[in-house]
Amino acid sequence: MFDDGSDELFGGIWPFMKRALVFFLPIWVFLICWTADLHIFISAIAAGLSLPLIQIFEKMKLKHQIESESDSDNVIK
């Protein structure tokens, strides 16, 4: 299995944060929408849509990290 490097994000805290976010973020989003008097159906959809945001954020951070690393690799002229 290939290592995608996400374990090293945020100084190694990311895997821990990710699991917590996957569990808590949809609940939090649902509660916000629900208490804002949105329909429960829309609240549920909003909660579900919050999950891909975590994955997108991870990919963006990884892409940014890989780009910055490849820039600093060209040391020898």
Partner: protein, 208 residues
């Protein structure tokens, strides 16, 4: 009397709403879980210490397990903070949305705190192995000349110990003679990438 009524009685709320029940139970269960985990960890240390001295053995918790425990503690702390801060905000502002948002941010803050604690503990680990990365920025002297586009050897102080390590010049065409002062720019594998110290740099260093 259900557990919800019991917790509501303790906090002093009669006929709680659905959101109040969520906050109360998060706060109560989070606190209980957090305290149980802390107690278990402390008891574990004491029991482990007793076993160590009585049976003359080593009952140590490996780092993976302790990190796992800390992460569970982080989750418990987040749930606890979400519950109590949310509850207090709801009582203070009487606006449910604010309470949920503030509760969420406080949960994130508590988890961030636990994350910092994890990082701090990780930084305390030291296995005595030399890290070549620590040589970056250090100055030293060429021990065995570095020919153009070839490797040589340099002597640099890494983590307070003078070491002789393989090095190459940053500029491929450059030849650095034995005895010249150099500065470590980067590390690739076990090879240091160095450049000669300029006169200006040496002067500044002497003044320091």
């Amino acid at each position: 009397m259900s557990i919800v009524d019991w917790v509501s009685d303790i906090v002093g709320i009669s006929a709680p709403s659905t959101l109040e029940i969520i906050f109360l139970m998060s706060g109560f269960l989070g606190t209980a879980f957090f305290l149980i985990l802390m107690t278990m960890m402390m008891l574990g240390d004491i029991v482990g210490g007793v076993f160590d001295s009585v049976f003359d053995t080593d009952f140590t918790m490996d780092s993976d397990l302790s990190f796992e425990l800390f992460s569970i503690q982080g989750l418990a702390a987040a749930v606890m903070m979400f519950g109590w801060v949310g509850m207090f905000t709801l009582e203070a502002t009487d606006t449910e949305v604010y309470a949920v948002i503030v509760g969420g941010f406080s949960a994130a803050a508590s988890m961030y705190g636990v994350g910092l604690m994890l990082k701090g503990i990780k930084n305390l680990e030291s296995d005595g192995t030399m890290k070549h990365e620590d040589a970056v920025g250090e100055r030293g002297q060429v021990y065995s000349r570095i020919r153009a586009n070839e490797s040589g050897e340099v002597q640099v102080a890494v983590d307070g110990t003078l070491r002789t390590l393989t090095a190459r010049a940053k500029d491929k065409a450059l030849h650095i003679s034995t005895g010249e002062f150099i500065k470590v720019i980067d590390v690739i594998g076990n090879t240091l990438v160095v450049e000669p110290l300029s006169d200006g740099e040496e002067l500044v260093d002497e003044e320091e």
